[in-house]
Symmetry: C2
Subunit: 536 residues, 2 copies
């Protein structure tokens, strides 16, 4: 039995050599390679496509103020011609008011939320952000900071007529210390561009995301983005060494330390990591950057029970330890959607679950030996039913493409309801099973994929078009389900507008009270990204 | 030349096989082994010795209120017999008032600070801590939480008559999830004891410190302790997943998430990491625990210029990558003090600088191959002048002993002035050189050692006894020096009472203002660990 399974691996490996993903070179993310000059990854293209799309179809996305009629506009001033003249003085020629210019910035990536912002400002410096906020605060004008606008909870677009502060022109690398690996840059730097700058020095960002071609480091920090390398390099609370932020009143808070250790008073920068721009606008950051690994390998494994999935994950942690860099999960429905909607080919047969195990290290031969040991072990112990391995970069990318393109593939079904939540490992897949049972044949698909290493499941439900029945079946049921098993209703992206009503699902009353006190203390007029995070 | 150097390594390695550290088995830390049942490491023994010492010699340590006459007692109530009766009801039989019982808790480990606390409470549960603080807040009684009392800035002892809340009886492990590696425990758990509990599951704490035999996880969190594994596993901001804390008014803040990803509102637990018990008393924590590595190797290298030190560090980062777990630094004076005062033997000859490079991984043969490649490279490129390697646990411990015993050895000189600061890598050793020049022959020794990987230097100056001249030469000069090069005046331990006057040295005015606002918001009556962190 053990031998047969080992043979399966070898056979799959052979088979893999001739296996091709259509247009792999253009469509696949290049995780550890030389930047993406001219070749945006699939998500990025999708985001860009989406912005183009929303500019044409924005009218079809209902206004958030209509979609959520319970929301009332706050007691903020409305932008006047006089305000526009002041803005023009503060950021000359970088005040946009043409509807065509700002429509894409009013609609979020998922096409779920649409604000009615009428002015977009494009500062280039911290001083300009400071001047803008000082003025807005004085005038009581609400403002929403916007990075790459790739969030999925409507956190980076206005709800009513908030002033949009786009960070896109704040895209300068300030410094890089090659020995310590510390990068300092402005908040509007796109992650791909940062990696292009780091690559000649053998360094990379500690986090990487599907949206890396569009998302900005400031937005990543403001939402505490985790992404695909978190298993290996940890979260941004650990990797961000310093933050410069502009407070609501325009004061510049310079906590832009580049030191790995600094325990002098409260660690204020942590306040801005994950607070969705509601306590201050992040204008610059210093980030600890790890070295680009010399070798990357990926195994795609098929399992027919969830117990096998957990056993395999445990074995991977034990046997790969320091070289384990990702353990990603897909169910059969996820694999089917990339095959059906994007014509990608899976080198394995049909299985109930798939695991993508990535290793990265400094010595290819060592890593391969460790990975082969693991594969031998999991096959012998019948933890997996089939598997294939890739070490050549293009093959590695092809396997990653299967996982990375799920989100894109799902869009082709029509309407997608997306839930990015964390649940205890033992309940990881129950959420999908229970949802499938609940929505039944009303949905085209119910799929589950995500970051197994962080117990972060992406539950996605598709329909040909928006269905009130499906939506009502899903919400708040999904969030109630997550809360019942002590999960988090937001693994990534934060609360924004779409999840704000569920803040108490993952937080106690005293915790929310303290959050509100901090908000009131730091933004007494409530001008920074209002209507988000907190339920009424 | 290259060959000769390679020969030196081989020769040193041979020589090492017969090299013995006296009483190694008892006196050496066991970094990755089966706990320390009955064998406290040198620091722990020193701490314990110190407590015993201070109980006898406490009278010799001047009262902090006398040493810092500018300090005025706050407008707090004084403990009355009525208060003692209430405390006795809240924590029956765990109210200590005998001077002999609490003297050791009034004096800090370094014997620098002495408070005049007259009552010590020993809660066992969060509810008891809550009841204590609710009462203290109502009565306006100041309180200082105390963990293992191993800090070096006087942060964990009273200044005047603050009520001491000892966390030592809150030492229960609450849960351990072996698959996710998440431990939940009470704040008073000693790090060594936690590691004893983790070891059978193949797990360990992400941080380890010289004081691990005495220091408590709650104190580690409250001071954001980094220690020796930070290069590999990152800091506590990244590894602490949840915190339960009691606020000044007695409210229990339950942020004890065990999820790796949870982005639902502000990450409140971060407020308690590094705030020295001044915003709340940490009562429990959940911590992400890595696996115990299967293999550990250590190389001790000698360099004769600081440029070589930096080149070697850079080469180690590049060539060891995922298995590099520590890069520690000692200068010649540090090596001399462990030889002279503790009769330890160094297997290398005299060099200006020494580096201790540790690797840890899952495959001993792979790690050894990588380490040997590095050693061949640094010898060939003349980055180091001599070196030796150890892979056998007792030899690894013997090499670590040289580095770990510097602090203990220095105490034998008499009086030690200790500065734990971070400076940019390029200025790392200049601080020692400049200090040596400044204090001249007034000092017995001026030594520099520390965590090179975090640019954290421990500057220590010794004299036979306290010398006002030496002290006046050192302070505030050292802190001014650090501030001038944008370093941090506190790499570890926080500000406490000893560094509070230098808070502005590493923070801007707006940052300190915001810290004070947070303090006022969360502890409006200022009862939690007063007199610490902030200058008057």
């Amino acid at each position: 039995m053990a031998m047969r399974r080992s043979h399966v691996i070898r056979y799959a490996l052979e088979q893999y050599k001739s296996y091709r993903v259509p247009n792999a070179a253009q469509s696949l993310p290049s995780w550890y390679t030389k930047g993406t000059n001219g070749s945006l990854d699939s998500w990025s293209r999708c985001v860009h496509g989406s912005v183009a799309l929303t500019q044409k179809k924005a009218g079809r996305v209902p206004l958030s103020s209509e979609r959520f009629p319970q929301l009332k506009r706050g007691d903020f001033a409305r932008v006047t011609d006089g305000d526009l003249q002041v803005f023009e003085r503060l950021v000359p020629s970088r005040v946009l008011t043409e509807p065509g210019d700002i429509e894409g910035h009013n609609v979020d990536w998922s096409g779920t939320c649409r604000g009615a912002g009428q002015v977009l400002l494009r500062p280039k410096t911290t001083e300009e952000v400071s001047a803008i906020l000082r003025y807005c605060n004085g005038r009581r004008l609400a403002a929403v900071p916007q990075g790459g606008n790739t969030g999925l909870v409507g956190g980076s677009v206005p709800v009513f007529d908030e002033v949009i502060i786009s960070m896109s022109l704040m895209d300068k690398i300030i410094s890089l210390d090659e020995i310590s690996g510390v990068l300092v840059c402005q908040a509007g730097c796109v992650v791909d561009k940062i990696n292009e700058a780091l690559e000649p020095h053998g360094l990379m960002t500690p986090h990487i995301l599907g949206s890396k071609g569009s998302c900005q480091i400031g937005g990543n920090i403001s939402t505490n983005a985790g992404g695909l390398r978190m298993l290996r390099y940890g979260n941004l609370h650990g990797n961000v060494l310093g933050v410069e932020a502009v407070l609501a009143n325009g004061d510049v808070l310079d906590c832009l330390s580049t030191l790995k250790k600094d325990n002098t008073g409260y660690d204020l920068k942590q306040l801005f990591i994950g607070s969705e721009g509601s306590l201050g606008v992040v204008t610059a950051a210093s980030v600890l950057c790890p070295r680009i690994p010399g070798a990357v390998s990926v195994a795609l494994l098929g399992c027919d029970s969830f117990a096998q999935v957990l056993q395999t994950y445990d074995a991977a942690k034990k046997m790969l330890q320091e070289i384990l860099s990702a353990v990603e999960f897909m169910d059969r429905a996820s694999m089917e959607v990339v095959q059906e909607n994007l014509q990608l080919t899976c080198p394995l047969g049909a299985h109930r679950y798939y695991l993508l195990v990535e290793t990265s290290g400094s010595n290819a031969a060592h890593d391969e030996e460790k990975l082969n040991s693991l594969l031998g072990h999991v096959m012998e112990k019948a933890m997996v039913d089939d598997g294939t391995v890739a070490t050549e970069p293009s093959k590695v990318q092809s396997l990653w493409a299967l996982r990375e393109n799920v989100a894109v593939a799902l869009r082709a079904d029509g309407c997608v309801y997306k839930y990015d939540v964390t649940v205890p490992m033992s309940r990881f897949y129950d959420l999908v099973t229970d949802t499938r049972e609940r929505v039944g044949s009303d949905a085209t698909r119910v799929v589950g994929y995500g970051h197994l290493g962080e117990s972060d499941i992406h539950l996605n439900v598709t329909c040909p078009q928006h269905s009130e029945d499906v939506f009502d079946a899903l919400e708040p049921w999904v969030y109630d389900w997550v809360a019942k098993c002590k999960g988090s209703v937001s693994a990534e992206h934060g609360m924004g507008i779409l999840k704000r009503d569920y803040l108490y699902h993952s937080n106690t009353g005293p915790a929310v009270l303290l959050m509100k006190q901090l908000k009131e203390r730091m933004d007494p007029r409530g001008i920074l990204n209002p209507y988000k995070i907190f339920p009424d």
